[in-house]
Symmetry: C2
Subunit: 340 residues, 2 copies
């Protein structure tokens, strides 16, 4: 009998079920017990106890293609992705960022400087200092251009996980969903309508600071809907907290041009990556207060209350279209390679 | 006039002068003032003040080819590289490691599991827990196999930099030099003698702990001679401390098989990467004590006192062959792509 060689597929990097399974089957074995939140939690990052505070650590590699896209580039994406993962754990004051760059031989120096400028400007916007880095070069044809890894560390007094929902909690999204994924895919497919579509990529730590100041301990769960989109984030939050989530489709903010591009490309805006949005679970009594704080911030002007946690159907997400209800499947993750 | 497009070359990733210049010209602009040792120091990592302690952070991407080589693999390399960079700053008790993996579509799952096992085993050997990670996939032909980024954090009471040498200090190397670089290059070129050559890749934090316990504040500078080799490390230490360094060639421990492979391949063992060695600058009075502590550890059995810092020729390295003296040039860095 021929031996079947199992191979990695694009779906294993797309933020859906296939990726989660790969991580659970292969990488969870790297986890070891820590005083805090470690690898086994599969949260946006880790949180380690230092005295009476928490050290939050998060890492992301960025492989987006094209590296320059409407609304941003790989540099802005890299800083924002890491700053946002820290913020999603409740750590809104980054202590330091690392920048590890891998370049293909022949990569234009001018493009590298443009990426560097973007890294610098976005880090300043977030108040996050770069503190160390690494540079590697691979041969022509061994790497498509450039990839970046950014790791961030921050201290915080209180951790917010992605697992804190309880039945009755309300769920907010901080603005329009689908912008990043559809801007990158439209650019890649050279759709004529790309002029209207821009990535939302932005560091959210200031916005999250405002939300936490307004909501305090009533902000019980946070997650940024990157790969896998809003649907993926809600699935993870439902599964980890063992609650059901009812998503009210008409209340989800989606731009007309994103909806149009999604229809042309056959991509559901609910399952594509956002890079400047957050999903917040809040106790019902605090929801209007947190919503008002979000809307008062430039990056949260279109924030909306669009879902709620329920005791029914733990681990599942129900889409309420306004006309009826159906289960929203966990994204499998095959469509969108190199979106971030 | 035609515009000349400057492009990145392999030499920009090889740990010599070309890489240093690229980093200084392009990436130093990312540096911002921090309370401690930041990007501008271009040390093995950063050190940020937290209360009366230091948080050390270091990052490295690993692109070695082949990914499995005599004596190690990309997983062991990745953990060791990061643990060693922490140790070189004086931080020998890692708090946490991150693991960000980028895979090529079609990468065999069995190889991934083999790399994962090596990551796990080496992390255990170093007492360094993995706390968070990231997984990305690039398309077939967009990446050659797999690259790994590992970032590490640790707390320490005292920082040791690579800039602390003063005239009169003695310089120790913890064992044979050139093993890693020549093992990988011999494997890549399929030299017949590869059986004798093994990479030295290993986590050194236990060894460095022993050296610091013996030497205390008299250990004034540390650096691991990775890309650029012993020659590159000494050049950096000389330049940063504004001292000269006299390297006594006959005292540098080099295995016969490494010397032989170096001659066949035209590679000087002094300029190739080591992945399980450290260079320590110590006050003269403590040198024998530190040397004895190193030799008492399994990873330091061949440690040797092979150089000294002098007031003459600040920033330069003089090679004393036993027959005469000549300047040892800073490695330019073109020969050895993807060595780590």
């Amino acid at each position: 009998m021929e031996k079947v060689v199992q191979r990695i597929g694009l779906k294993h990097g797309s933020g859906g079920r296939a990726m989660r399974q790969l991580i659970e089957e292969v990488f969870l074995e790297l986890a070891s017990p820590v005083d805090g939140i470690g690898l086994a939690a599969l949260d946006d990052g880790a949180a380690l106890r230092i005295g009476d505070r928490w050290l939050v650590i998060t890492t992301d590699s960025h492989v987006v293609q094209p590296i320059f896209f409407p609304g941003g580039d790989i540099g802005r994406l890299s800083v924002s992705g890491t700053v946002n993962d820290l913020a999603m754990m409740g750590a809104t004051e980054p202590l330091g960022l690392t920048c590890a760059v891998i370049l293909e031989e022949g990569f234009p120096r001018a493009d590298l400087e443009r990426v560097r400028d973007s890294l610098r400007d976005t880090a300043r916007e977030a108040g996050a200092p770069f503190v160390t880095g690494d540079t590697k070069v691979m041969g022509k044809g061994e790497l498509d251009g450039i990839v970046l890894n950014t790791t961030g560390v921050a201290l915080t007094d209180r951790i917010v996980t992605d697992a804190g929902l309880a039945p009755g909690d309300l769920i907010l999204v901080t603005g329009h969903v689908g912008d990043h994924g559809l801007a990158v895919m439209s650019r890649r497919h050279d759709l004529g309508l790309q002029g209207d579509l821009r990535s939302d990529v932005a560091p959210l730590n200031g916005l999250i600071r405002a939300a936490l100041a307004a909501g305090g301990d009533d902000v019980v769960a946070m997650k940024d809907p990157t790969r896998g989109g809003l649907a993926g984030a809600l699935h993870e939050m439902a599964a980890k907290a063992r609650v059901g989530i009812v998503l009210e489709e008409p209340k989800v903010p989606i731009r007309d041009e994103v909806r149009a591009a999604g229809e042309m490309l056959g991509i559901d805006p609910l399952v594509v990556a956002n890079e400047g949005k957050a999903v917040l679970g809040v106790r019902a009594a605090a929801a209007e207060r947190v919503l008002a704080a979000l809307r008062a911030h430039p990056l949260g002007a279109h924030a909306a209350l669009c879902a709620r946690a329920v005791a029914d159907r733990p681990g599942q997400v129900v889409l309420d279209t306004g006309l009826g209800r159906r289960l929203l499947a966990e994204p499998e993750g095959e469509l969108l390679p190199r979106i971030c």
